[in-house]
Structure formats: C-alpha cells, structure tokens
Symmetry: D2
Subunit: 136 residues, 4 copies
Amino acid sequence: MNNSNNKTHNFSARVYYEDTDHSGVVYHANYLKFFERAREDLIGVKKLSNMWHEQKIGFAVYKTSLGFYEGAVFGDLLDIKTKWKKEGKYKIVFSHEAWRPNAKKAAVTCTLELVCLNADKKLMPIPDFEFLELSD
Amino acid sequence: MNNSNNKTHNFSARVYYEDTDHSGVVYHANYLKFFERAREDLIGVKKLSNMWHEQKIGFAVYKTSLGFYEGAVFGDLLDIKTKWKKEGKYKIVFSHEAWRPNAKKAAVTCTLELVCLNADKKLMPIPDFEFLELSD
Amino acid sequence: MNNSNNKTHNFSARVYYEDTDHSGVVYHANYLKFFERAREDLIGVKKLSNMWHEQKIGFAVYKTSLGFYEGAVFGDLLDIKTKWKKEGKYKIVFSHEAWRPNAKKAAVTCTLELVCLNADKKLMPIPDFEFLELSD
Amino acid sequence: MNNSNNKTHNFSARVYYEDTDHSGVVYHANYLKFFERAREDLIGVKKLSNMWHEQKIGFAVYKTSLGFYEGAVFGDLLDIKTKWKKEGKYKIVFSHEAWRPNAKKAAVTCTLELVCLNADKKLMPIPDFEFLELSD
C-alpha cells in the first residue's frame, strides 16, 4: 500500500435545505458531513460497510481543524477536493476543501486525522487492504 | 400499568441555529427530533438507556403523521405537549404538539406509533415496567 | 402544465454514518431528508434556487404521513421512488418510497403535501412553470 | 465589557438517538451542535435573536479545532464547559469541553473563533453590549 498520494479525489455534494440554517448559508457543522461522505467515497463504502458488519472495525475521527471563509448556499453543487497521507501504522491524515461553483478559492478547508477502532473502541492498525482507490 | 393517561406531558425545546433552514424557520424534519426528545423525557432516558444497553431492546417509530401550521424561529422556546395511549400489547400511540411562545394554537401537530424491537429487529411486547412517569 | 404524472422519478440516496443512529439503522427523521432531496431533484434545484433567491418564494411541507417497515443500514444505496399529483391551485401531493438494494418491498413510504409560500409566509399558487421535469 | 473571563460556563446537553450514529457513539459533527448551544446559552438566546431579527447581525464560526478522546453514548447528560476570551475588536475565542458523567477527563475538546457578520456577510466589530453573562 502506498503511504500517500498526490492526486486529488473529487466528490460532489449538493446543498439542500437540510444543510442550511436561518442565516442563509450552510450550517458550519454540516461541512464535516460533506467531508465524511467524500472520505467514504474515496475509501469505498462497500469496503467500509464490510469492515463494519463483518469485523466490527470502523474508522473514527481523532482530530480535526476547519477554516470557514465563505458560506455555501442552497443549490450549490460543491466540489469536495480531498488528499490523504498515511502517518505511521495508526493514522491517516486527510486534507479536504469545499469549493463553490466557479470559485477562485476554497470556501471551507479541513484537516482531519482518522484512526481505526474495534468494537471495544480499542485502537487498531489501519487495515492493509488497498482501500484508497486513488493509489497507483 | 395504565393503558392511557389524560394528563399532558410538557417538555421545552429551544430552537437553535442547527434546527433552522435558509427559509428562516425550523426545518420540517427536525420537529420529529423535538418530539422524540419529549418521548424520551416522558419514558425516562435512564430506563431507555438500560433497556438498550442491557437487554438490547429499543423503541422504533412505526408510523407517523404530521401537520405544519406555523414555522418556529431561532430563539423560540417551544412547549412540546404530549399525550399517550397504549393500544394492545405491541403499540403506544403518542400525540405531540409543538407550541411557540404565547401562541393560540399549535405550530406543528404529530401522531406517532411506537413499537418495541429486539436486537434482531423482531417485534416485542411493550415492556410492562412503569415507564410512563405520568401514570397515576 | 400537467396535473399529474404516472411515471416514477428515481433518485439515489447513499446511507452515510450521519444518517444512522445507535440502533444500527437510519434515524427515522432522516428519511424526510432523502425524500426532500428527491423532490428537489425532481423539480430542479436550479429552478428552486432561482425562485428563492430572486422571488423569495419557496415550497413548504404542509402535511406528511410516513410508514417505517424496514431499517436501512450504513452503505445502502437507497432508491427513492417518487410520484406526484397537483391538487387544485395550491397543493402538490407527492408519494415517496425508499427501497433498499434488492428489496421486494419499500422500506419506508411517505405521502407529503407541498405548498408555496412567499417571504411573508403567505400561501401562493403553485407557480405555473414547467417545473416537473417528468411532465410529458 | 471585559475582554476575558476566568469562570467556566456550564451547560447540560442530553445525548438523544438523533445525536448518535451506528457505531454506537455520538456522531463527531454533532459535538459542534452541543458547543453552539452552550455558546448561545452563554451569550443569551434572546440577545442573539434580537440582534438577528432587528439588526440582521449574526455570529459566524471562523475557525475551529476539535479533539475526540472518548465517545459519548445515548442517555449521557454531557456537561459542556466553556471559557471565552475576546481577541481584538473582531474575534471571540471559545474553549469548549464535553464531559461525560463521572468522567476524569474531557471526552471532546474544542477551540473555536467566532466573528460577527452583517446581512451582506461583511465583518463587523463584536457588539459592545454586555452579552457575556458571566462577566463580573
């Protein structure tokens, strides 16, 4: 397995009513949902689902930092750009960006560390399958 | 255990940013969250939690109907009024209403049927403990 | 504009972590989100977005009834089947079903009445543009 | 107005079904909801609501960092501990912690920078009212 990848993964997330709040833009916490959908798309939902239902192993967010520079609005089709890097045996670090249509810079940026936990919430090494579909 | 109760259970739900959408009012699906919080308060969160963690028995929503007559806004302290009635061995029917401050009628009304499922999602009789704290 | 349509609109909704609850299946209120995404796809997000940003007219849910027959799980790609019918000048009635992969019947069913409101939350006639893309 | 406060603000957040995901613990993004409820309680929902409805001024999250050390479960009554500090004219920095019942350390920690925006999403100085109720 490669330990990093210079390619960018692209995932589209439509902004629906459910994602916005009364200030007119996307509610800040909901970008974490968009970023998770992108990770699940990148890793492969079927692999994640099998890992969970057969082995009771799942990924958990350990740390994250976000910057909010522009608010996305209802109807936007966001481009979620993701890069990743494995750090040691236990951690994958993801860099996410949410781009509004025709934007010149990212609306929201995110760095996020993912770890692997078993059913007892014990830390597990990141599984060595070829889960990152962008790998060369 | 009594099979019904004429008293009304009151539960307060504050409307936060997270509950609203860009139209300026509470997102329709979120009233189901307020009503569930009220049911959990009525039944008792500790009992529900023990039922789940020790016996792997949980309640599940089987059917529901809602009417939306007025939109609640950020900052509202909603009064969630709840009545209940046990129907047969397997079902409890709840009537919920969400009232805005100083309102003359309910903003949202809801009828909801709850059933009990075990870990295999099999239907179970409603447990016979004294879970409805309003019971005489 | 036609007043009804016999065709079924299909929309795919992936079940992510965010959609489930600790009982292992999709949280009941979240099906309303899936159904709304399907309606917005059916009507056209761009039309809805223009209606909102230019005319301050939006759709609002007036009534809905749901039945929950099976729980969808993480990883499911749900097929949301939607039919619609205009009733009078002010109301569109939608029938939604959420189907799990390879299922023999719908996991969740929903009937939902949509009305149109202006910025002052006044009832408006349903706009007469050709918004329902399935129309013949 | 004081520029900081050494006292800790306490806010209780109950973990409901809606807050959890299928891994059995609270979904990571939802802690941002708990922390926002705590801030709104600290600042005063009525003041925030008036600011919004009368002056169209609202707070927006600019940056945030979170660490997730333990998962809260259904039924937990979380103690959200909050400290704050005004930095310059435009920013308030909040430190939040979510504590599970009888815990020896925080389950989740958060640092969050809040700014003030007008209806055009322009940066505004933090209003000088006595909004932080813990102020001496």
